[in-house]
């Protein structure tokens, strides 16, 4: 038996010596050696392959980020034919699956030169109105497509399609956010023009979408001035994740008590590198600055060839 990890390697002493391991200590020492990795630095580095009676040949490492520790159970050893609890050290990011889908989406979008923005906000901040206006204004310059996320209804996608831009509605059902897997499926169905702009309108929610990378180039948080200036402090996760904040419904500023200076200060406190633009999707004020921001960051995406200069 391998006294280092407790696996049943009795018939295979040669392969073990090939891995240049030290002679096995007694069983008690082997058990404690794995519980206290620091005590046996030479075990932390070795990596070997061996066969188990009940499993296929495999390779595993000891120490480091990922370790299988067969010897750390109650008995401290692993005997052939006897099941034993074992500790598996993993240190795996729980959202690694979403992140892998997001990476795939990102490479796919970047390869096609598509500039993707993930729009996040509370419900009712005016994301869809902003998109309808922005698509109308930008369509002569960019090929635009939209992914709409809502729990129910295709109302938003219908509003987008009325502009002539292709849109896919994702209904998340009870889900409170879009994830990268859903967006990957939407990308399969959406007619995406190479070197265009993709807007992903996330589910209206200032909490959950912050944790889920979709593969976008930037998260853009839309905050309407009617929501109050302290939202960045109340929902710091979202404002920390965004690269741009659009302060929407600025046309209502004369009628409400909204402290713009404080709001900007709160947003920068949560995220010192966040860019901030004040807009009104209704009147169009401030939108040219948003369009310039898109053009500046779009990188691979390029204005349509026939676009007027």
């Amino acid at each position: 038996m391998c006294a280092i990890c407790g696996c049943e390697n009795t018939a295979d002493e040669k392969s073990r010596s090939a891995a240049a391991e030290p002679p096995p200590p007694d069983r008690n020492a082997a058990g404690s050696a794995h519980l206290s990795v620091d005590g046996h630095p030479e075990h932390n580095r070795h990596r070997h392959s061996h066969s188990h009676d009940d499993q296929e040949l495999h390779v595993h490492s000891h120490g480091g980020d990922e370790a299988i520790d067969f010897g750390a159970g109650l008995a401290g050893i692993h005997l052939p034919g006897m099941s034993q609890e074992r500790i598996i050290r993993l240190e795996r990011d729980i959202l690694s699956k979403n992140d892998a889908f997001a990476r795939a989406n990102r490479s796919r979008l970047e390869a096609a030169g598509i500039f993707a923005l993930n729009l996040v906000s509370s419900p009712g901040s005016g994301k869809t109105s902003l998109l309808v206006r922005a698509i109308t204004d930008l369509q002569p310059r960019f090929a635009i497509a939209v992914i709409e996320g809502d729990q129910q209804t295709s109302n938003d996608a219908d509003r987008i399609r009325a502009t002539g831009a292709p849109a896919i509605q994702i209904n998340t059902g009870k889900g409170c956010h879009l994830d990268a897997h859903m967006v990957g499926h939407a990308l399969d169905q959406l007619p995406l023009a190479a070197r265009g702009v993709l807007f992903i309108e996330n589910v209206g929610n200032l909490v959950c979408p912050a944790a889920f990378d979709l593969g976008e180039a930037h998260k853009v948080v839309v905050l309407s001035v009617t929501e109050g200036e302290d939202k960045p402090l109340k929902y710091p996760g979202m404002f920390a994740a965004a690269d741009l904040m659009l302060l929407n419904k600025a046309d209502l500023l004369p009628y409400i008590d909204f402290d713009m200076t404080a709001c900007v200060e709160f947003a920068r406190r949560v995220n010192p590198r966040i860019e901030i633009l004040t807009i009104s999707a209704r009147t169009g004020d401030g939108l040219p600055a948003f369009y310039r921001w898109i053009e500046k960051h779009a990188g691979g995406a390029a204005p349509l060839a026939h676009a007027p200069a």
């Binding site: 009940d54 598996i88 795996r92 729980i94 996760g237």
Partner: protein
Amino acid sequence: MHEMSIAESLVELIEEEGRSRGFSRVKQIRVKIGALSHVEPDALRFCFDAVSHGTIAGGAHLKLETVAGAGWCSGCGRTVSIAERYDICPECGQGHVRMTAGDELRLAELEVE
């Protein structure tokens, strides 16, 4: 309630590990959650119980460990502990602190049979 998606991802990860490493029952799961992460531990525990039922993780004890928030201060260059993402540096009182720990969400360890 994104804790539901996170609980589902956690169970998926465990089932994947079970297939590749050949275990069929999990007794204990150790998860590290950053104090400044997007996850509410009680909500995660509630969701985990719901979604792990009938899987190899069903009935396992979910041990949640909090990782304290820490960050690097751009003002004084020190690494300091922080309780909020936007904390002002407790040492120099002026610099912005860039979070370096406290945003974790990791499956750290499984105790399996």
